[in-house]
């Protein structure tokens, strides 16, 4: 191997004039975290709504949920982001398309929404599985108590279903964080993007990507620990995730 290692590269000034190479990577990390959080909120909100739709007795509701899930989970994320960013504005009337293109920070919003919707299909499926895993008697008992469908979801089904699916939801949150790296395809220079820039400027490829790997690992460890604590805090004795 004829490679010139230089671990001090991180403290050398980056040529784009915004500080050192480490600052460059950290600014990418901040963007990664922001995109991931924004996307995760969208994924949770839309995923919950669609997940509930899929379990409702109404045929229309469950069919709508089905179509939504299949639309978003059967297309590669990369293709979806590309479609949202480059194709959608061309399909709209010219003035709307132009407005959409000229929003500042367009790559950030497109990425957060695109990744959020993609992940929401996965959250919806898990929530459906969680609701489906509850004994049928739960729903019947709620109805017998005189609760409306909305009330039985809010007070009986969802609180239990969400607790059951906490472990897979942790995985989905981690996936959301990692999926933000796909956003470089629409010009969002997050952590992976900054690592790529760093290797182009300095030619220190291995140092740049090692640092990116370590940073991804660190945020994911933080998320895993936080979710584990949350799981423990809301556990109910006797249930699947309780003692």
């Amino acid at each position: 191997m004829n490679y010139h290692w230089n671990w001090r590269i991180f403290w050398e000034p980056a040529p784009n004039g915004t500080g050192t190479y480490l600052d460059m990577l950290l600014s990418g990390l901040v963007l990664t975290i922001e995109t991931a959080i924004f996307a995760w909120i969208i994924a949770l909100v839309f995923g919950s709504v669609v997940g509930v739709l899929r379990t409702l007795p109404s045929k229309t509701a469950s069919w709508t949920g089905f179509a939504y899930v299949e639309f978003f989970r059967n297309m590669p994320l990369l293709v979806q982001l590309f479609l949202w960013f480059f194709v959608l504005p061309e399909l709209l009337p010219y003035a709307w398309g132009l407005w959409l293109k000229q929003i500042p920070n367009a790559p950030f919003y497109t990425a957060a929404i695109g990744i959020g919707l993609f992940m929401s299909a996965r959250v919806a499926e898990q929530l459906r599985a969680g609701i489906g895993s509850l004994p049928r008697g739960q729903k019947l008992a709620a109805t017998a108590l005189g609760l409306t469908t909305a009330q039985s979801y809010a007070y009986v089904l969802l609180p239990m279903a969400f607790r059951i699916i906490m472990p897979p939801l942790t995985s989905e949150f981690l996936n959301t964080i990692k999926n933000t790296s796909v956003a470089i395809t629409i010009g969002l220079i997050e952590l992976t993007g900054e690592a790529r820039s760093m290797q182009e400027f300095s030619f220190q490829v291995f140092e740049a990507f090692t640092a990116a790997t370590v940073l991804y690992l660190l945020i994911n460890i933080v998320v895993v620990i936080a979710m584990r604590l949350l799981e423990r805090a809301i556990a109910i004795p006797g249930y699947i995730s309780g003692k």
């Binding site: 040529p15 480059f86 293109k101 760093m198 182009e200």
Partner: protein, 305 residues
């Protein structure tokens, strides 16, 4: 114990022999001699330096130069046959593949600068390019100051985006700089009006425009963001013997006028696969460099006297 001096002598002789050998051949040259093969790294879409033609075969200006280098290496090593292996590289893989010995020469459009020389070496410059911007003719932009307050794209990790950032700060232009993943994506942003202009090496802009759906709709600015910067063929650092052979080969090529013939072939006439003609006459700086080949990373050293 009485054998010791003899063993010592034998060892010394062996060491001397091996170091004598090492003096003759080291690094890449030794490797080429042993395997009977040299590996060229090529880019798949650096038109017209190194790209795939309609038969998926890498061709281009830098490829032709590399084949000349291969001939020189073959002669230097007195080989009857030298197999040429071709290996695709991208901007992200070129360094690892060069470091681990997969490719011996990178034939493309890699800018030679002082920062990069800490990791690799370059042979004599084969092209000089300045950073300019392309925009739609309809938007009537030509000077850097025309970009005031507009959205401008450039490829992330390039010297061009750095120059754009600097010009933006120095001239107080308030440009919204959008980084793109690669040249194709950046050009797409101008095509779809996400950005009004794309700042890049002028020769790459010329090839993107020539290859676009409507070449007549785009114009390249007359203002440049930088002095002409050198492109070089990349080789492993600290391999003095190999660099000597490669430098001698490229210097001979450029000085003999064959370099200019190759230049005309790729920049002044129709090139595969679509029969584009980039129509870019050779500049005085490059002409001067061909007469006095240099591997300097410093743009100032390429001024015509």
């Amino acid at each position: 114990m009485k054998h010791l001096p003899i063993i010592g002598l034998a060892l010394a002789a062996a060491l001397a022999a091996s170091s004598a050998n090492a003096e003759e051949l080291t690094g890449t040259l030794k490797n080429i001699k042993e395997t009977g093969a040299i590996t060229l790294g090529f880019r798949d879409s650096s038109i017209p330096f190194s790209y795939l033609d309609d038969n998926q075969k890498p061709v281009g200006f830098a490829m032709d130069i590399c084949y000349k280098i291969v001939d020189a290496v073959k002669k230097e090593l007195k080989l009857d046959k030298l197999e040429v292996k071709l290996n695709p590289v991208t901007s992200a893989t070129r360094i690892p593949l060069m470091a681990n010995g997969t490719v011996d020469l990178e034939c493309g459009s890699t800018t030679n600068n002082a920062e990069r020389q800490k990791q690799v070496w370059f042979t004599n410059t084969h092209f000089l390019t300045a950073s300019r911007f392309v925009s739609k003719k309809s938007s009537k932009l030509d000077k850097i100051d025309d970009l005031k307050g507009k959205s401008v794209v450039s490829t992330s990790g390039t010297t061009n985006i750095k120059q754009l950032t600097e010009a933006n700060a120095a001239r107080n232009l308030g440009i919204n700089i959008i980084p793109a993943k690669d040249h194709a994506e950046a050009f797409l942003m101008v095509e779809t009006d996400r950005a009004v202009a794309f700042v890049m090496d002028d020769i790459l802009l010329a090839s993107l425009v020539a290859g676009s759906k409507e070449p007549a709709a785009y114009a390249i600015s007359s203002d440049a963001f930088s002095k002409p910067e050198p492109y070089g063929i990349m080789l492993r650092k600290d391999d003095t013997a190999f660099k000597k052979v490669v430098d001698a080969a490229t210097a001979a090529l450029y000085k003999s006028g064959e370099g200019e013939t190759l230049y005309k072939k790729w920049f002044m006439s129709k090139i595969p696969p679509k029969g584009l003609n980039l129509n870019t006459p050779i500049g005085p700086e490059l002409k001067h460099e061909f007469a006095n080949p240099s591997d300097s990373p410093d743009p100032d050293s390429y001024k015509t006297m």
